[in-house]
């Protein structure tokens, strides 16, 4: 065969870090968190994660092939949306509602804007915000973790028939015979009962919450791994957690009886998952070096403000969505300084 010469434009080498490599690694870093959730909540959690992810993938496939983008599943971004979305839902969330959440996340959160890179809001949070509005009571009802029958029986609500109200779980919970189960998340217990958990409770997962809220330390470890491999921008979680920590600490110092320890604020709710895996969504966060700090601080501050002064128990989702909306503006206002330009 006659040798042929290839012509390419410089540069002729590449870092090797491509979109699918980044996305695949993020998926990989989410798997331990999924595994922990399944360990806590059993086959119901597994079914929810698989169902929501499948819903996202099918929706992505449907729209990408119809909008001329080809098969975009290979970039792995839809899988991230699916897994993240599942981790923000109660593990006993009805599967059919999970399908709805996944469809909305991709269809309204992503495909509507033209697919990966063009979405202004984090697709997983768009899906989550939709089901929060559509099924407000179901999304706030939890079953206890470590129920003995969790690997043999589905939670009744998981298998709720499509378009039906979530099935009643009280018999299943009673069967588990767990003492003093309240069914409330740590943030709700703090808000309404002024009860705080210890840091150790969050590490072992005995608290009741959506999968992504029960394993703050594990999430942190996965985030550190991704940051070290340069697959996520470490500045954003540092800004989010740092600003939340400082604000919570200031409140705690001012009124210790009213406001919890700063470490509770960091470990409870969706702050850790949000800071590490959602705020860092590249398409919806600023690109400028100064901008990412402002954006992260905005998320941390708004999260704490909503938790302390809002009607909701948790504010991370809205904090990130608000910051997403602000990020083009932040970018515009924080253009990098050109080399050799006179300081502004």
């Amino acid at each position: 065969m006659k040798p042929t010469i290839e012509l390419r434009a410089a540069p002729h080498v590449h870092s090797g870090i491509s979109v699918p490599v980044i996305m695949r690694n993020v998926v990989g870093a989410l798997l331990p968190i999924c595994a922990f959730s399944v360990w806590q909540y059993g086959i119901s959690a597994a079914a929810l994660i698989l169902t929501v992810t499948a819903s996202c993938l099918l929706t992505e496939r449907f729209f990408s092939s119809r909008t001329g983008l080809g098969n975009t599943l290979a970039d792995w971004s839809a899988a991230i949306t699916g897994i993240l979305l599942a981790l923000t839902l109660p593990p006993n969330f009805p599967l059919w509602m999970g399908v709805v959440a996944g469809f909305i996340a991709i269809a309204l959160g992503k495909s509507l804007f033209g697919g990966m890179g063009f979405n202004p809001f984090n697709p997983a949070l768009v899906g989550r915000a939709f089901v929060q509005g559509a099924f407000p009571s179901t999304i706030a009802s939890f079953v206890p973790s470590y129920a003995p029958q969790r690997f043999t029986e589905f939670v009744p609500s998981t298998l709720t028939a499509p378009l039906m109200q979530a099935a009643d779980n009280s018999a299943w919970i009673g069967h588990a015979a767990i003492d003093a189960f309240t069914g409330a998340t740590p943030l709700a217990r703090w808000k309404f009962e002024n009860f705080t958990y210890s840091a150790g409770d969050f590490m072992t997962g005995v608290v009741t919450a959506s999968a992504g809220e029960t394993s703050a330390i594990l999430i942190l470890a996965c985030g550190v791994y991704l940051a070290m491999r340069r697959y996520l921008d470490w500045r954003i979680p540092v800004a989010v957690l740092g600003s939340a920590l400082i604000l919570a600490w200031a409140f705690h110092l001012a009124v210790p009886a009213r406001y919890p320890e700063p470490v509770f604020v960091l470990l409870s709710g969706g702050l850790m998952l949000g800071a590490i895996f959602m705020a860092t969504d590249m398409a919806t966060s600023p690109v400028t070096p100064v901008g990412v700090w402002i954006y992260g601080a905005l998320i941390g501050i708004v999260s704490v403000v909503i938790r302390y002064f809002g009607g909701l128990t948790e504010g991370v989702m809205y904090a990130i969505l608000i910051a997403n909306a602000a990020s083009p503006l932040i970018d515009q206002m924080t253009q990098p300084k050109v080399f050799g330009a006179r300081s502004r």
């Binding site: 065969m1 040798p3 042929t4 010469i5 290839e6 012509l7 390419r8 434009a9 410089a10 540069p11 002729h12 080498v13 590449h14 870092s15 090797g16 870090i17 491509s18 979109v19 490599v21 980044i22 970039d75 033209g114 697919g115 990966m116 890179g117 063009f118 921008d233 590249m282 398409a283 919806t284 966060s285 600023p286 690109v287 400028t288 070096p289 990412v292 970018d331 253009q335 990098p336 300084k337 050109v338 080399f339 050799g340 330009a341 006179r342």
Partner: protein
Amino acid sequence: MGIAELFLKSSFARGVHPVAHKETAGKPIRRMPFAQRLVLPLSQHIGKPSRALVRVGEEVVRGQPIAEADGAMSVPLHAPADGVIEAIGLHVSARGPWTESIVLRVYQGSPQRVAWADPVDPERLDHEQLIAAIQATGMVGLGGAAFPSHLKLGVPVEHPIHTLVVNGCECEPYLTCDHRLMLEYPQDLIAGIRLAMRALGASRAMIGVEDNKVDALIAIRPHLPADGSISVHAVETKYPQGAEKMLIKSLLGQEVPAGGLPMQLGIVVNNVGTLAMLGRLIKSGEGMTERVVTITGPGIAKPGDYWVPIGTPLRDLLAWAGARDCTEREVILGGPMMGQSVASLDVPISKGVSGVLVFDRREAHAPAAKNWPCIHCGACIDACPMGLNPTLLGLLVAKREFEQMAGKYHLGDCFECGCCTYACPSQIPLVQQFRAAKAFLRARASA
């Protein structure tokens, strides 16, 4: 200078760290034999093409001028070998398919000694004579830009120059020709630096060498003059450390004004390869007939640094260096970050070619044909040494907002180092787009 100073170094901000692949650094420079035919484009430099002095059928000796400088913005061209002029006409070159060139058939039996030389004592030349002597060597910047050396060193009087920065960074991956020159020809380098300092009226010279070439630092140090006018400094190994503005920032901590030139700060930057060659040529009074070229890459069986006669066609050069048979390959003149791939193996080595890089299909990190939409990760912003916003520039180029790119977002400050494209996970050909945008703006300005 103590050993500790090797590890204490400032650097410019951002940039990238490509895998160095300096496999050829440990091997001495070898000599490439003369090809049957040498092809000598009349325009191997930036500026006006040279004017041919010879006719077809004329015999020439090695070192004889075969083309003269056409005015001040031009350089002469010397016969790289004894032989006979076979043709003067259009020939393929790295500049394009048809470049006015002289084709020299080499006398293979000749001993190929340089037979045309005019040795001078550079210490006795005044400024004008020195600049003229530099122009007579036909020297251009050997780092790749091929800007005539007599123009670079003949700075207008309104810019008094105090410092000569000598670029020994060789930040492009794979290339080792400057590294080998520093190791093997340190006296020539120092001679060239002294010459350049005299031409510029500079009182000091600073040699910047990336800290992955500590052996070069050690090789140069014994040859430094006792008065301390020439010093050598380790700088961080980071691409593009060898870019003029980056190296000035690293060595002197000063930023050349955006859109400006180093001479505005009283600084001129020259590459070690250029100065070592100049130091050699002025002393002996010879013209430039050969240069050191790094021939390497996964597609080369005998990688190394070679003294290559100017005008050697790539086909002969690759045959000698043992290009492996492969069905698909990319031949790049220069380094992998800023080099240019060529369409034909008939392209000759010209004065500005520092390396020939052959990539075959197995080259793992070659950018794939596939690319993805911009995901706004900001990797390009964290890579751009000039502090530009390639993300935004890339979006503007897609909308053909060229004026806005040049005006508000400083497209003109992009020197096409390729960092943004190297780092882009979506593998968007950003530099290529910026080149296209600049070409569009140039075309509009001249229309």
